[in-house]
C-alpha cells in the first residue's frame, strides 16, 4: 500500500445521505474474479443520468468525494472500497460513515475523513461554485484546506498510523516475519501438509 501523507485534488459534491454499498457498487459486480477494474460499477445506478455529479464535465478527474451523512451503510462488500479506489478517489469526506465500510477503507488505503456536517456544507458550497478548487487533505495535521477554509477531521489513530506508514494488514503482519518463522520452527512434526503423500506411507 502507498503511504498517505498529504493529498491535493479536486472534489465532487455528492449531495445524498445514506449512500449504501449497494449503491456504491451493485451485487452483480461481486461475480468478478479480479481485485481491480471496478470503476465502471461505481454508483452504477446513477451513471446513466447525465446530471449525476460524476458525469458532469466539470467534475472529471476528481479524487475527493464530499458525501452526505451515513456513507457506506449496508452490505460489508469490500468491492465498494475497491470501486472508489479504482475510480481514482483517494479521500471520502462525510459527517458519518458506516463502521464496516470505514474499516474496509482503512485496510485498502482509502482515507475516510469525518467532519462536522457544517464543514461538508461549506465544502459543497465552495466546490459547486468553483469545481476546479483544489482541496488539500493533510493526514499528518488532520486538516482539510480549500480556498480560504480550514477544518480538522477525525480518523481512527490506528488507521491514521497505517495510512501514514503505507501499511495494509498484510504489510503489518509481515513486520512480524521473525515471530512467524520462530513459531513455524517449533511446530510439531506430526502436523500435516497438503503435499501429496509419498508412496512409502
Amino acid at each position: 500500500m502507498e503511504k498517505f501523507l498529504i493529498h491535493t485534488g479536486t472534489a465532487a459534491p455528492l449531495r445524498r445521505s445514506n449512500v449504501d454499498t449497494d449503491q456504491i457498487i451493485p451485487a452483480e459486480y461481486l461475480k468478478r474474479v479480479t481485485r481491480t477494474g471496478f470503476e465502471d460499477g461505481l454508483f452504477k445506478g446513477w451513471r446513466n443520468d447525465p446530471d449525476f455529479v460524476l458525469n458532469r464535465p466539470e467534475y472529471q478527474g476528481v479524487s475527493v468525494l464530499v458525501a452526505g451523512p451515513d456513507f457506506g451503510t449496508g452490505s460489508s462488500r469490500e468491492h465498494a472500497v475497491w470501486a472508489l479506489n479504482d475510480f481514482g478517489f483517494k479521500v471520502v469526506i462525510s459527517s458519518r460513515f458506516a463502521d464496516i465500510f470505514r474499516g474496509n477503507s482503512g485496510k485498502a488505503g482509502l482515507l475516510t475523513a469525518a467532519v462536522d456536517q457544517s464543514v461538508v456544507e461549506e465544502l459543497w458550497a465552495i466546490i459547486e461554485a468553483d469545481p476546479a478548487a483544489a482541496v488539500t487533505i493533510d493526514l499528518q495535521a488532520q486538516t482539510i484546506t480549500c480556498v480560504g477554509m480550514n477544518a480538522s477531521f477525525d480518523v481512527d489513530p490506528y488507521v491514521r498510523w497505517r495510512l501514514l506508514e503505507g501499511l495494509d494488514d498484510i504489510g503489518i503482519t509481515l513486520r512480524y516475519a521473525y515471530e512467524v518463522a520462530a513459531y513455524e520452527s517449533a511446530r510439531p512434526s506430526f502436523k500435516p501438509t497438503s503435499a501429496e503423500p509419498t508412496a512409502a506411507r
Binding site: 461475480k31 468478478r32 479480479t34 469490500e78 498484510i170 512467524v180 513459531y183 500435516p192 503423500p197
Partner: protein, 469 residues
C-alpha cells in the same frame, strides 16, 4: 504438553497457535491449514499479484473445485461463463502460486469440507480456515476451524497467520441417548430451533455430553457444519478414540512415532473441569425426533409430527411478521400437518450430509423401494472418493434402481450457483444446510431434512420419516 487447567478446548487450541500477543492488539494466530475454492479466492490471489507477494506456505494450502462445478457431463466445458471464469481463475492461480489443486475429474476433487477430513488433512488441535462459512465442519475433529472473508484469505495466503480477537465460548451439552430414528441432523436442527439462528453469535460452540460422544465422525461433522446456522463462528467436539480411529491410516495422517506423539497431544485437547464457558445450553437427547424446517431460515423447524405454525403463535410482532413472510414464501397454511406437505424434489448431498455414511443411510431405505412418480431425487456424493466408495458398496445401483439420479461430486443443489437448481415454485426436501429464499434456485422452496427423512420423503412423495414406510 504441560498440564493446563481452567481452559476450554477452544481456548487450548487458540493458545497453542498464538504467534504474537500484544496488549490492545488482536492475537496473531498461526493457521495450520488453508483450504481454498474457486468462489472466494480469485481476488485474494489478484491482491497478492498486485503486491508482488508469494504464497508463504503452499504446502499448508489446498484447493479444490466445488461450488460451480456441474455434476453431470463433467468432461464437457462448463457452460455458464461466470462459473467457468471462476474455475479458470483458480486453475491458473494455483499453477502460478504453486498451490496443489484437485480439479474437476481428479479422484480427490469434492466439496472442500468433505475432502479435508477424508484425506486425513483435518486433524485434532489444528487451526483450519477457508473462505467459506461451513469450515466449521472440521471442528468435529477438535480443530478450531472457521470461515473467513476474501481479504483474510489473502492475508493467510501471504502470511499463514490471521490477526484475531478471541471468540466467546459456548457449551451445548446433549445428555441422554438419541432415540432410534433420530440422527445428528435432527439434533442440530432441534438445537437451532431452540437457540435461534443468532443464538451462537460471536461464540465457538463446544458440543459435549453423552449423545455427542456416541456420534460417529460423520454425525459430528453434520453437527459442527451447521454451527454457522446457529450464528456461531465455529463448532468443536473434543477428540476421542472415535476421532483417532477415523484419522488413523488416512493418506495425511501421522505415522510411526509421529502418530504416538500426535495422539498424546490430542488427548490433552479436552475442556478442563474447572474451565468456564461464556454461555451454556442443555439439550435432552431423548426428546429429539425427526425434524424438518417449514420456514425460510434454519431456525424455523419442528418435529415432523407437528403442524405448520400460525403467526398467532408468535411471541412478539417481529416473530409474527417472520412467520407470516416465511409462510407466504413457502406457500403453507397454518395447521397443516408437516407430513401432508407434498415434495417434488429431493436432494441428498452437500457438506452437511454428502458423506458415505449419509449415502448408506439413504440406500438402506431405498433398497427394494421406488422413488414416487411425482418426485425427482438427486443423490450427489460430497467428493469423488465418496462416489467411488459408494460404487464399491453397490449403493449406486440401489439408487438408480430406485429411480434416483446419481451424480458426480460437488455442492450441486445446495446453492443455485451451478446447473443443479430447483425451478420457481418447486418444493424440495434437502439434506443441505440453508433454506433461505432462493438458495436452491430463485423462487424455490426448501425443507431441510436428514438423509433418512429425505429418502422416506422421496418414496412417499410427502415429508415423511422411515417409520412411515
Amino acid at each position: 504438553m504441560a498440564a493446563r487447567s481452567g481452559h476450554t478446548l477452544a481456548e487450548k487450541v487458540w493458545e497453542d497457535h498464538v504467534v504474537r500477543r500484544f496488549e490492545g492488539e488482536p492475537d496473531l494466530l498461526y493457521i495450520d491449514m488453508h483450504l481454498v475454492h474457486e468462489v472466494t479466492s480469485p481476488q485474494a490471489f489478484d491482491g497478492l499479484r498486485a503486491a508482488g507477494r508469494p504464497v508463504r506456505r503452499p504446502d499448508l494450502t489446498l484447493a479444490t473445485e466445488d461450488h460451480n462445478v456441474p455434476t453431470i457431463d463433467i468432461n464437457q466445458p462448463i457452460a455458464d461463463p461466470v462459473s467457468r471464469a471462476q474455475i479458470d481463475a483458480l486453475r491458473s492461480n494455483a499453477e502460478e502460486f504453486g498451490v496443489l489443486l484437485y480439479p474437476l475429474g481428479s479422484v480427490e476433487q469434492g466439496i472442500v469440507h468433505v475432502v479435508g477430513p477424508q484425506l486425513g488433512i483435518t486433524q485434532p488441535g489444528m487451526t483450519i480456515v477457508c473462505g467459506d462459512s461451513h469450515t466449521s465442519t472440521h471442528g468435529a475433529f477438535g480443530a478450531l476451524a472457521f470461515g473467513i472473508g476474501t481479504s483474510e484469505v489473502e492475508h493467510v495466503l501471504a502470511t499463514q497467520t490471521l490477526p484475531l480477537k478471541p471468540f466467546k465460548t459456548m457449551a451445548i451439552t446433549v445428555d441422554g441417548v438419541l432415540p432410534v430414528g433420530a440422527s445428528a441432523k435432527d439434533l442440530i436442527l432441534a438445537i437451532i430451533a431452540q437457540i435461534g439462528t443468532g443464538g451462537g453469535q460471536g461464540h465457538v460452540i463446544e458440543y459435549r455430553g453423552e449423545a455427542i460422544r456416541a456420534l460417529s465422525m460423520e454425525g459430528r461433522m453434520t453437527l459442527c457444519n451447521m454451527s454457522i446456522e446457529a450464528g456461531a463462528r465455529a463448532g468443536m467436539i473434543a477428540p476421542d478414540d472415535t476421532t483417532f480411529e477415523y484419522v488413523r491410516g488416512r493418506p495425511h495422517a501421522p505415522a510411526g512415532a509421529d502418530w504416538d506423539a500426535a495422539v498424546a497431544y490430542w488427548r490433552t485437547l479436552v475442556t478442563d473441569d474447572d474451565a468456564r464457558f461464556d454461555t451454556e445450553v442443555f439439550i435432552d437427547a431423548t426428546a429429539v425426533a425427526p425434524f424438518v424446517t417449514w420456514g425460510t431460515n434454519p431456525g424455523q423447524g419442528l418435529p415432523l409430527s407437528a403442524v405448520v405454525p400460525s403467526p398467532d403463535d408468535a411471541a412478539d410482532d417481529t416473530a409474527r411478521i417472520g412467520i407470516e413472510q416465511a409462510l407466504e414464501y413457502m406457500d403453507l397454511v397454518p395447521g397443516t400437518p408437516l407430513r401432508d406437505i407434498a415434495i417434488d424434489t429431493v436432494f441428498v448431498g452437500s457438506c452437511t450430509n454428502g458423506r458415505i455414511e449419509d449415502l448408506r443411510a439413504v440406500a438402506q431405505i431405498l433398497q427394494g423401494r421406488h422413488v414416487a412418480d411425482s418426485v425427482r431425487m438427486l443423490i450427489v456424493p460430497g467428493s469423488a472418493r465418496v462416489r467411488l466408495e459408494a460404487h464399491a458398496e453397490g449403493l449406486d445401483e440401489i439408487f438408480t434402481t430406485a429411480g434416483a439420479e446419481w451424480r458426480e461430486a460437488g455442492c450441486s443443489m445446495c446453492l443455485g450457483m451451478n446447473p443443479d437448481k430447483i425451478a420457481p415454485g418447486e418444493r424440495s426436501a434437502s439434506t443441505s444446510n440453508r433454506n433461505f429464499e432462493g438458495r436452491q434456485g430463485p423462487g424455490g422452496r426448501t425443507h431441510l431434512v436428514s438423509p433418512e427423512v429425505a429418502a422416506a420423503t422421496a418414496v412417499l412423495g410427502h415429508l415423511a420419516a422411515p417409520a412411515d414406510l
